[in-house]
Amino acid sequence: MTDATAGKPPRGGQMLAADGTPLKVSLRRAMRAQKLRALLLISPLLLFVLLTFILPIGDMLLRSVENDIVPSTLPKTVVALQDWDPKTSELPGEPVFAGLHDDLVIAVEKKANTRLGQRLNYEYSGFSSLMRGVVRDLKSMDTSRPFMEQFIEADKKWGDPAVWRTLKTFSGEYTSGYLLNALDMQRTENGIQMKPEQERIYLKLFLRTMAMSLGITFICLLLGYPIAFLLASLPLRTSNLILILVLLPFWTSLLVRTAAWKVLLQQQGVINDILVWLGLVADNARLVMINNATGTTIAMTHILLPFMILPLFSVMKGIPPSYMRAAKSLGANDWTAFWRVYFPQSIPGVGAGAILCFILAIGYYITPELVGGTSGVFISNRIAYHISTSLNWGLAAALATLLLVVVLALYWTYDRIVGIDNVKLG
């Protein structure tokens, strides 16, 4: 840099460009146009992802804690309840009952009472019918008499402090109720506790979903590794042919494939028939392989296998055969050469395949729904049920949020143990 025109010597530790502006500034200026153009190119995708992915997820996260239906439908009641101590066994005072009356009159006009009853029914079963009853009696209530008596006359449940406790607990804008519910917990007088044994369903379902997803991932690995190995060691023409066979299932609709498994696996199905014909299974003891966990495992393994094989194959393809040869020339037998030299180098593929399979499995819905029966359904089936049948979107959102947290936690653990930079998808 002896040439004076090539660049000014640094002054005060800062490099200057030929026109005297600091080098960093002029570099930034030069890069700005490039960055803008890049941003412009990805903007359709960015918008798409924002609208279809980020916003829905944000909405879901919000829904799992949102509770504005109670404070917005019963504003006066909520304010009046502030002075009441839920720990006492006494009922709240007359202003609360009066407030509830006024709120409900407006709610009936707006037809918001049914939804409110439904919402509170999630937390206190019977609330829905309680609400229906009182709405019926609302018109005949006498505004000159104390409302407390009239409410209790209409249904003596209104005299139960537990009802009011529920109302007070869920009178905030936000609630942890859905999330607690999703974890089989509930809020009682004595703080947060597990629900009674027979009411716990979600934790078990979460555990089953994870255990079965892990199992399916593991089976996929066991089945996929040798195939990927074979593919990677065959000449290109043959391996391409087999690769097409591996991808063949993708050409058929998921539903058709799952239905095919039904045909194969059911008790009067092809496999059972063959086993009986071979004499391996007695006719009156046909295997139950569908509408249970076995069915889900078999069908999902079949569906997810390509997602294991492809990353494995792409990683294995990049391992030169000379490594195995070197290991053998150094005295290692076939197994040692494979286990100490080949396998460690295929780990990035194993990681990628396993993560892919596991994450796909843990959120899978259609297949468990069709072949899972009751013992083979996943948490996602429960989420779907709450979205489309019970219409408890808050709980569905809470379950989905927990699922997301679990996946992220597993991802984090994996990063800790194996290292995410050790994953190669192609």
Binding site: P320, Y323, A326, A327, S329, L330, A332, V341
Partner: protein, 367 residues
């Protein structure tokens, strides 16, 4: 060399043939004896079957026909890991997920040596290639030359009696390559290990080897010490493949003992050493090295035929002068003279008379 003394060869190829596709023979009837402690180089153009031979010896390819013996024992059916042959690969094949130390310990571990023994052997092998400080590094953190040394150390650490190297220096730059040639040669001398070395760099082959096997088209064209190969090629492929060479086509006029007269295509006559010709009338390629051509009367033998030549180009090369001549219709006849004090520089267009010792001018096959 052992085989020259007539001992049983350490490595023997006997009538070995190899075909990959069942249609063409990649190795055709290979017969080769390698003595214990010998440094033998397989040299040849690309695709001549060198790597194939090496892989058959290492056990990664099976011979289609014939027998390979190691220390007198047929090894055709011995798996590679039981042959105890060290091997250096062209891309080094250092295990990327292991450190240098672990790479070197690998062959010792699979041999179930004790921890302390492994440690001392690894250290000794690293010191041997002056890489003692690198045991904790990964292969990816080292330069090509350093990786090369590690690969060498790894092939030697379990003290094999035979080491195979397939173009081990192919990926290095010229200077480093020459340096490593020395080191490999010195290691060979110090350890007394038998080395089979593959290269297509002839200067590498000539400087390092005890003997060189020149391959072409699946056959050994000549198997000889470097000096013989250069001075006394037995066929025109070897003459042209090794070093620089002038060739003049013609036919034999007369043979008497170790001298024949050859009539060149333009009608002029020269004297040559009959190597691959047997009777008058045989077609031949006469071969002569550029540095053996003389144009000064006082240096030319008196009793031979001389040739007229015209200077086409004079090239100054520092330590020597290259002169391109037109000789007997050949425009690419090169004469190389040492840059001595009394050396005369020729000018383009000048006419000179050239000659040589009969022993330096070899009448070879016409192929």
């Amino acid at each position: 060399m052992a085989n020259e003394r007539g001992d049983a060869a350490f490595v023997a190829f006997e009538h070995v043939q190899k075909s990959y596709d069942g249609e063409t023979l990649v190795v055709k009837d290979l017969n080769l004896n390698i003595g214990k402690g010998e440094f033998l180089t397989m040299l040849g153009p690309s695709g001549s079957g060198k790597t194939t031979c090496l892989m058959m010896l290492a056990g990664f390819e099976t011979a289609t026909h014939g027998e390979i013996r190691l220390a007198g024992r047929p090894i055709n059916s011995v798996p590679p890991h039981k042959r105890g042959i060290g091997m250096v690969f062209q891309n080094y094949a250092l295990f990327p997920h292991m450190t240098v130390g672990e790479n070197l310990a690998f062959p010792l571990e699979v041999r179930k040596m004790s921890k302390s023994e492994i440690e001392s052997k690894v250290k000794r092998a690293l010191d041997m290639v002056q890489m003692g400080a690198f045991a904790g590094r990964r292969p990816a953190q080292m330069s090509g030359g350093q990786q090369q040394r590690i690969a060498l150390a790894r092939a030697l650490v379990f003290e094999p009696e035979l080491v195979l190297m397939d173009e081990p220096l192919g990926a290095l730059d010229k200077q480093l390559r020459e340096h490593m040639q020395f080191e490999i040669k010195h290691l060979h001398e110090r350890l007394g290990v038998t080395v089979v070395y593959v290269t297509h760099d002839q200067s590498e082959a000539l400087t390092m080897s005890d003997r060189v096997a020149v391959f072409n088209d699946g056959r050994i064209q000549q198997l000889a010490p470097p000096e013989d190969l250069y001075e006394r090629p037995t066929n025109s492929f070897v003459a042209q493949f090794i070093g620089e060479n002038n060739t003049l086509p013609g036919s034999v006029e007369a043979i008497s003992g170790d001298r024949c007269t050859v009539k060149l295509t333009d009608g002029s006559v020269i004297d040559a050493l009959p190597v691959n010709v047997s009777k008058p009338g045989d077609r031949t390629l006469v071969s002569i090295r550029p540095e053996r051509v003389e144009f000064r009367d006082d240096r030319m033998p008196a009793d031979t035929h001389k040739l007229e030549a015209e200077v086409l180009e004079f090239i100054y090369m520092g330590d020597s002068f290259r002169t391109r001549l037109r000789v007997a219709g050949n425009d690419n006849f090169i004469m190389k003279c040492r840059n001595a004090v009394d050396q005369r520089r020729l000018n383009a267009g000048e006419k000179v008379v050239i000659g040589w010792n009969v022993a330096d001018c070899r009448a070879l096959d016409a192929a």
